[in-house]
Symmetry: C2
Subunit: 197 residues, 2 copies
DNA sequence: GTCTATACCCGGATAGAC
DNA sequence: GTCTATCCGGGTATAGAC
């Protein structure tokens, strides 16, 4: 066993290992489906060892969710800035499919969090509102640029676009062979105003 | 507590009570979030008393899911038969919103079942395939009747329609004030071919 | 920073009486 | 058909040593 002091690691390193493993395991089996002892074992430490870094299971979940949030938000802002909403959302799909582990975590936990009292409920409520408003802003800009029909209500359309992404993600999780960005692109292309030339 | 023999009920009655309560509680907190003892307590019997009717928790979940399936399938078939796919899906939304308890169960459990090894995974995989094929059939018929553009792939479009319904349901569960049938109708109306007159 | 030991609670399922 | 009692496994979190 030799669990000597030599197992020790620098502050940030172990924390990062735990977050990565938690992302994988929560994404596979959901918050309630995994014990912190399972996660600790995979990292190679004991369960109290893990709780030294995150004082509760709930805190670990939120930390795992927030870990990629800045990165993902940044990508979204960048795409929203230089592309039309349609192209930006397809780009986002492609980006997500490249990191299936993070995508699974978000999809599984957002689904799980529709239960009242779920630890991540507040996190996702805030996130939905934020994303919907940002998408709606981008829709308004595209309407001014005559890329989208001005008759559509930006908030209603934003809600719909997010619904399509979420719904397609659910089906992608059941069958990862499906072409997620392709389906998203097909939906969006029917929406945009074609340039006459 | 006088738990006398008088607490006994006729065969089918107790079973139905248990299924109704399980539908509510699984829909509120998910399969893993509720214990069969919780359900038994709400029904007014003991936990082994409940297990007399359903030999395991898993069997109870599947029974609760299948209970409304025949009814819901029948409604779907009826609507699909006499209405266009667009009108049928909006009608289905309205029907669902009228029975929020059953809708919550389906939404929460289908979300939970994206985890490999979840007890209801097989149930929902089969259900998705069945529903998608039925929707695709109805799309083909509407294309022949020139109600939908013939250029669209029926299976791709069916996948998309189901994604929109699922995605809107998720947002409706987070905020039940939202107009689910209205959003669905707005999406579908952009799709159908307007009659020139 | 990590461990062992442990306290404490909860869950599903079974045995057997009434 | 329903109960009490019980088995057994597992979960989170804490105390305290190294």
């Amino acid at each position: 066993m030799a669990p000597s002091v030599r197992n020790r690691k620098a502050p940030g390193v172990r924390r990062e290992e735990i977050l990565q493993t938690a992302t994988e395991m929560f994404g596979d089996s959901g918050y309630r489906g995994v014990s912190i002892a399972d996660i600790a074992a995979k990292v190679g430490i004991s369960q109290p060892g893990l709780l030294h870094h995150f004082k509760s299971k709930e805190e670990l979940l939120i930390a795992a969710l927030e870990r990629r949030d800045a990165d993902s938000s940044a990508h979204m802002d960048e795409m929203f800035h230089k592309l039309s909403i349609a192209d930006a959302l397809v780009s986002l799909c492609r980006h997500n499919v490249e990191d299936p582990t993070a995508m699974r975590l978000y999809a599984v936990e957002s689904a799980e969090s529709i239960e009242p009292g779920h630890p991540a409920r507040e996190f996702f409520l805030r996130r939905y509102a934020r994303v919907r408003d940002r998408v709606a802003d981008r829709i308004r800009r595209d309407q001014e640029l005559h890329r989208l029909p001005a008759t559509l209500d930006p908030l209603v359309l934003a809600t719909e676009m997010i619904a399509v992404m979420d719904g397609l993600q659910i089906q992608w999780l059941l069958d990862p062979a499906m072409d997620l960005p392709g389906h998203m692109a097909a939906y969006l292309e029917r929406l945009v105003i074609k340039e006459d030339r």
